[in-house]
């Protein structure tokens, strides 16, 4: 693929200035007064047109020197620098290499765009230091307007736009710029330039929004499925007094017969309110296990199951506490300080239209056998459950989605094991 691209690049060069035009449309670079045509157009750094050596990965001797006259895209610059590991060090190496290679830093705008694109791949998309390093690629002071005409018109729009893009990407990843960033931007573009204004806007809004989400998903999700389930369940439960119980730890063992036994994890959550609701549930009416339902935590999707009762009949819904119950002291206090004035009084997260919710769980497998273990565990704390019929309403679940995501990337972690899903 890269070969083809390079070929195309080489092929187009003599034909005209199509690609370079996009790079710096119609403007001569002032710090290169004598520059002409081919020489300043990057990425077509061509010293020797005839030596079009593709940079194979196995070609070590030559591969160490990518600037050796070869036509090289910036993507390859990164490829070259990574040496197997795609990390911050490799990324920094690529940037440093670019800076040292050419005092004029030709093609820095394209390089910066490429670098921005490559950041997630190298896992540095949330690294402020790296962003500063990228900004450092810009030549200093040359884009600072010197007179009012320059200031009035968009001075070096391509560069300014590129600078804004860097900040934009920082913003998208929620990275707050620091003093160093400001210093660099002032040095590169001067005060009141677009990037500096962008910087100012970020600095205005970011601190305001920093804690706007009272329930942030942690930046790093736990790798352990049990921990992940615990975290997710606590997020859904919305009740601080809800208790998480690990009914079964994940376990893989080889049985005596040599068969592999996998024990999926089962993590459940139940709040005292829900326990109370379940205790009040009539054993004559069945309860349902339903699921799986998806829950997205940033890029990760997890699945959970709920235990719920039948939708409440209207006459059952209202169980008003009899005010005339106790001759001596009140049995019910009319102080609901949990709810604010504008909160809706009627709505209760546990007693919803589709039936009261009694408990939730996440399991390593979505088959009935696993979920039955969960119900058995729940019976320990909810005796009424042992007399109540339990109906399993399980949908095939996330199989297709899972397989598709598996093909795409291995990044997404889905504790729902495929094997168990196929058993269904």
């Amino acid at each position: 693929m890269n070969c083809v691209k390079r070929l195309l690049l080489a092929w187009e060069l003599p034909a005209g200035r199509r690609i370079p035009r996009q790079v710096a449309p119609g403007r001569d670079l002032p710090w290169l007064p004598g520059s002409s045509g081919v020489q300043y157009f990057w990425p077509a750094l061509v010293r020797n047109h005839s030596q079009l050596t593709p940079l194979g990965r196995g070609d070590k001797e030559k591969g160490r020197e990518p600037q050796g006259g070869a036509l090289v895209s910036f993507d390859d610059l990164f490829e070259w620098a990574c040496e197997g590991d795609r990390n911050k060090a490799a990324f920094s190496r690529a940037v440093e290499f670019f800076c040292q290679r050419d005092i004029r830093r030709r093609g820095h705008v394209e390089f910066i765009y490429a670098a921005l694109r490559k950041m997630p791949e190298y896992g540095v998309e949330r690294d402020l230091e790296v962003y500063n390093k990228i900004l450092d690629v810009f030549p200093k002071e040359v884009f600072v307007p010197h007179n009012y005409i320059q200031r009035m018109f968009n001075h070096y729009p391509k560069q300014q736009e590129c600078g804004v893009q860097v900040l934009e990407q920082m913003e998208n990843y929620g990275i707050m710029p620091d003093k160093q960033t400001k210093f660099l931007l002032l040095q590169i573009f001067g005060a009141k330039s677009h990037p500096v204004r962008k910087y100012q806007r970020i600095m205005y809004w970011f601190p305001k929004f920093k804690h706007v989400n009272p329930y942030p998903v942690p930046a790093e999700l736990p790798r352990d499925p049990v921990d992940l389930a615990r975290l997710s369940l606590q997020r859904i439960a919305a009740d601080l007094s809800a208790k998480v119980t690990v009914y079964q730890m994940p376990l893989t063992d080889i049985s005596e017969a040599g068969k592999e036994i996998t024990q999926p994890h089962i993590v459940g959550i139940q709040s005292p309110d829900q326990q109370e609701l379940l205790a009040r549930h009539s054993p004559a009416r069945p309860v349902f296990v339903e699921g799986p339902f998806p829950l997205w935590l940033k890029k990760t999707c997890v699945y959970y199951y709920v235990l719920r009762g039948q939708p409440l009949l209207p006459e059952e819904k209202e169980e008003a506490i009899d005010l005339e119950r106790n001759f001596y002291y009140p049995m019910h206090l009319d102080v609901d300080l949990d709810r604010d004035i504008w909160d809706e009084e009627e709505f209760d997260v546990d007693e919803v239209e589709e039936g009261p919710l009694f408990a939730m769980c996440m399991a390593g497998a979505g088959d009935q056998a696993t979920l039955t273990k969960w119900i058995l565990g729940l019976q320990q704390t909810n005796p009424v459950l042992s007399q109540t019929p339990v109906v399993f309403h399980l949908t095939p679940g996330p199989r297709e989605l899972q397989e598709a995501s598996d093909l795409e990337s291995g990044e997404e972690e889905i504790p729902q094991s495929c094997r168990a899903e196929r058993e269904l």
Binding site: F327, Y329, H332, L333, D334, V335, D336
Partner: protein, 634 residues
Amino acid sequence: MLRLIRTRLSASRWRQCWAKALAAPHFRLTSPSYYITHQKGGYSSQAHEESTSFVKTLFNGQLAPDNVFPFPTVLSGDQTQFLQALVDPCTRFFEEVNDSAENEKLECIEDATLAGLKEMGAFGLQVAEDLGGVGLTNTQYARMVEVVGGHDLGVGISLGAHQSIGFKGILLFGTQSQKEKYLPKLASGETIAAFCLTEPSSGSDAASIKTLAKLSECGKFYMLNGGKIWISNGGTAEIFTVFAKTPVKEPTGEVKDKISAFIVERAFGGVTSGPPEKKMGIKCSNTAEVHFDNVKVPTENLLGELGSGFMVAMNILNNGRFGMASALAGTMRSVIIKAVDHAANRKQFGDTISNYGAIQEKVARMAMLHYVTESMAYVVSGNMDMKVPDYKLEAAISKIFASEAAWQVTDECIQILGGMGYMQEAGVEKVLRDLRIFRIFEGTNDILRLFVALTGIEYAGAQLKNLRTTVMNPSGKTETILKEIGMRAKRKVGIPTGLSLEGIVHPGLDSSAYLVTRAIDLFGEAVESLLLKYGEKVIGEQFHLKRIADAVIDIYAMAVVLSRASRSLSLGQPTAEHEKLLCQTWSHEAFERVRQNLQAVKSAAWNQSFANMKLISNAVVQNKGILAAHPLGF
């Protein structure tokens, strides 16, 4: 025989006294001194209104001194004179005619005594004069009951069950014709009344009342069926206030079982009572089961409205409680006389035991407890006479405090008497047995503590809600909001919030007054933090509620004592300096207790302790006995 003659003789002498007293000119209250304070059943009906009750406002961290300071003086000169004229013969009657030991032995009140009591009008102390009663105000009633309590609690219970709760329903809710029909006979003691609420399955739970009253097809009477237990005067009464479930049609059209109150005569037929129960104390009072078997109760004997029985019962109970504190104050007074007499005369190691610190502490404590109880009793009765709308918490507190104080005082009296006290001869063990019931009946103290704590917290919650509404719409109320914020800020830092009793309390008691205001600050903060922490769920936190109730009881006790001692100092009464000592010592002790209790409400260590206690209790209950292994292994 000798005794009989003596009784006769003293009775006739007493009779002369009494006749003289009644002949003296006196004034009676024109309006009845009893009235209904809350018309609605349930507890939350009043929470949203601002209250003037001292105790209720405490829960809000505020001081509403009006009902306590200055010490209520409600009796006019004439009323006082009349009361004095009654108290002396009554005291003499109990000293000379009534024989409590004999009553106990017979397990009923002697006929001569009963006749004397009837003659005295003791069966209708609060019934209006034109209906044949004595027409006493609450304060006057309290004073009379004090005399009874000082001599014979068994007789006191009989009288109390008759008029304090037995026919209180007719006084409070009866129609004119009901009053005219029943009260004269009841007031003269010709018929005895009883209050029938408790059932085998229902103590304080109104929902589990099984007695049923059904309207007959002709619509003229109710068929009453069911059984009541532990009814004081159950075997002797002719008139019963009975609570039974009745089907009531709601405005929604649905028929619901609600409680209604009925006046039932034994003469209606079908009313039977069991044999007198064998009790620990108060043996001369009759306690029995009462059964109703197809009793035809005419519709005009419905007390209050159909389905309003809950409210009737609550009002009777709240209204009937105030007499207990004064009765027990009387008991304590007479018990202390015995203890002090012994302490002053018993010599050990060449010195009377009253000179030893161990005994001195006991005597001082007894005197303080009595002083507090007496103050409470008359503040509450005074409040009721002042027509203070909300006194039920104060009444409940006085009942709790008095019953426990009397137990302690009598217990310590027996301790001072030593071996002597344990003997029946000394007559103190009987008092101890008699007054044990006061911690149990008409709402056990534990339940009343919940009542005090929860009612107060409900009020605080409602006020907090009001405050929140104010904060949401602050137009023109900035001052209120700033005041509330300032108060909370000061409380958090631990500096006084500016509550002050200055000018209300005698300057000599400023230190005690400071302790009261300090305690109120601490209390307000503790209640608020509890409320914010648990919200509605606080209802289940009985470990905390108990401590809140204990704290508020102590604060109220401090306040009433302060008020009384302050009045004595201001009037320059001869005992003022002694009362000052009582007040200061009590305030110091009570404040320390308040602080401890409130700390326990907040501290994590105590919460752990509460959780542990739950576990211990569960384990012992599950094991049906002690779980720990015996130290010897078997």
